[in-house]
Symmetry: C2
Subunit: 372 residues, 2 copies
């Protein structure tokens, strides 16, 4: 069981995770932030943020907590030269140095692609989802994956690469009413947006596998399930696919969105009936990882808890989820760090979740790890 | 025994603690950084740095480690309106909110004054030390102290205020050869610089005490010893001074500067013969705090140690110093955090020093605290 954490909001911005980085603009996503800021302001803002948000000392902290893997979301423009964005490959280079120093592994996660694969803010451009309709964009992503593989394939810390984060399904698109939940500010840019079809995704995954595996025999290739995990039964089979992992993201807030604010027992039941059964069933079909999860339920009911009740509440949600992940090959908490002044978001921040005693100080024996 | 840490390099910059904040300039200090950057660049750089460097989650971390007090260096221009500097009072406001949330105390430390009190980079302007020669500057500092006291006097977390950090003595000026160690880039600006005379400092401390105490009956007023601790014997006496603490800064590197790179036993002897005897003798004269100390010796000899030897080395330096501070009323490590990519500076960073196992994970019982 590989215990990991996402270094979210470092190289791919999400406004809700550090709203001050969007100060002085009307932007809701990184694309519009880059478009609105002046050249000088943009370069200052991105450089100072990236220099500060994750450093060597964060890797020291994570290693001490028993974390073994960092999943690092990276943008398609990581190598630079793609206006109006600011490249950031030098920061991924640093992450490899730090990972080697503290003996952590890295999973590179391509979190955005040109013109979007999900329309989320974290896809870089709200309401826009038509990457898959443009073969040049698809080729661009494949070349970035090749270049990343070549750059890091000899590095000891290079554990895996994920060709694409969260390509959205029809079902999720409808459930969250994507165009209204992540409205586009430019109707022309959004025109033609649609979920990523499974047939397209299968073709892309085959091609991504082929291109990455041609550059590295041993890197683990991690495929997000695209919110349609059953579609992959029978797909990722040998000899076509070797050393692959299917990544699924399981958030308690999905229950809240479907059924409203729940009590502790509602979430514990949801973990047992939904998460645990999914993980245990799907793990029989392919190596599975829970690449994103957290303790946050988005329920407003926990605001009424006392400090002690809240600690007990979150410890139980943590223990239940850590148990549910046991049949998987690993998990990554979302996320390591937020930069917000909002206690209701505490449990999205793994560091704070540990320091407040909701997760154990040492996760290396999780789920058996004991609180002091 | 109050256990604390300095939040250095947050609101008062020191280039060696985060060199990238000085990128693209030739500046060695915050004054020249502000003068060299364009308006847009300056505001972006300072805002993003201050938003990122210290946040709520750092207070959560420190509280969990048994830290009770944060000493926060602030600049004389904290209230803004002093070109070319960027004010930062809103960040001190935030620190009070976070301190209250996590039940920490705050010591506000006026770390810089106009035209400098020590000529150090951390005084804000290298090689310039003539604040005390200009009565308007002195009055400016006194008014800032008054305003800070009034602003926070009703806040539960407001433990203390320090009128001036490290006004330099003749002895230290000569020992480190200040004009050559911190060269001024503008000879006219530096002309007339000199150590802060003891007679002046006594007058300033009396006046600062009077002005602060007039605004708050109960805040602790902390006076740096100005690198001349014996001068204060018999000075800070009742009824003229109530609820005061004398602050002394004790760094192992002073031994290295005087005697060259030492072995572990050299530093242990130095701690015993110099630090311990100073603290125990001076504590009989006035309440004393070690407002700055750390494990770093600046000796290059430790580079040859194995990881295990290094851990043992620093644990012994930590234990010996924590024992030496016992007669004092408290201590603050320098500093909480650095933003550098230089392992030789690890032990200046308390977070990293804890995570690497040199300091205990929980300092609340220090020096008796055990490593896990």
């Amino acid at each position: 069981m590989i215990k990991g954490v996402n270094l979210g909001n470092w190289l791919v911005l999400e406004k809700w995770m550090s709203p001050e980085l969007f100060a002085g603009t009307s932007a809701e996503d990184e694309s519009h932030l880059c478009a609105e800021l002046s050249e000088v302001a943009k370069h200052e803002r991105f450089k100072v943020h990236r220099d500060a948000y994750i450093t060597d000392r964060d890797f020291a902290y994570l290693a001490r907590r028993g974390i073994e893997l960092v999943r690092i979301p990276v943008p398609f423009f990581i190598f630079g030269g793609y206006e109006p964005y600011v490249g950031c490959i030098e920061y991924l280079d640093k992450a490899f140095r730090w990972a080697e120093r503290y003996k952590l592994k890295i999973l590179i996660d391509l979190h955005t692609v040109p013109e979007g694969q999900n329309g989320f803010d974290n896809g870089g451009i709200c309401g826009v989802c038509k990457w898959h309709k443009n073969p040049e964009h698809v080729e661009f992503a494949l070349e970035v994956l090749e270049r990343l593989t070549i750059r890091y394939r000899d590095r000891k810390s290079f554990w895996g690469i994920q060709p694409l984060n969260e390509p959205i399904s029809q079902e999720l698109w409808d459930l969250i009413d994507l165009p209204n939940r992540y409205p586009s500010v430019d109707k022309d840019a959004a025109a033609g947006s649609e979920p990523v079809p499974t047939e397209f995704l299968k073709g892309f995954y085959k091609e991504a596998y082929r291109r990455i595996r041609a550059q590295s025999d041993d890197v683990t290739i991690v495929f997000h399930d695209g919110f349609r995990i059953r579609e992959w039964i029978g797909f990722f089979t040998e000899p076509d696919f070797r050393n692959i992992v299917v990544d699924t993201h399981l958030y308690l807030m999905m229950h809240t969105m479907a059924a409203g604010d729940g009590d502790l027992n509602d979430y514990l039941r949801y973990i047992e009936n939904d998460f645990e059964s999914t993980i245990s069933e799907m793990s029989r079909h392919f190596p599975l990882m829970v690449g994103e999860w957290c303790l946050n339920t988005m329920s407003k009911k926990d605001a009424a808890l006392t400090d002690n009740e809240r600690r007990d509440y979150y410890r139980r949600l943590a223990a239940a989820q850590l148990r549910a992940w046991e049949p998987a090959v690993g998990w990554c908490y979302w996320s390591y760090k937020l930069q917000v002044d909002a206690p209701e978001l505490d449990t999205w921040d793994m560091g704070k979740t540990i320091e407040q005693g909701y997760l154990p100080q040492d996760l290396s024996n999780a789920p058996e790890a004991k609180h002091p």
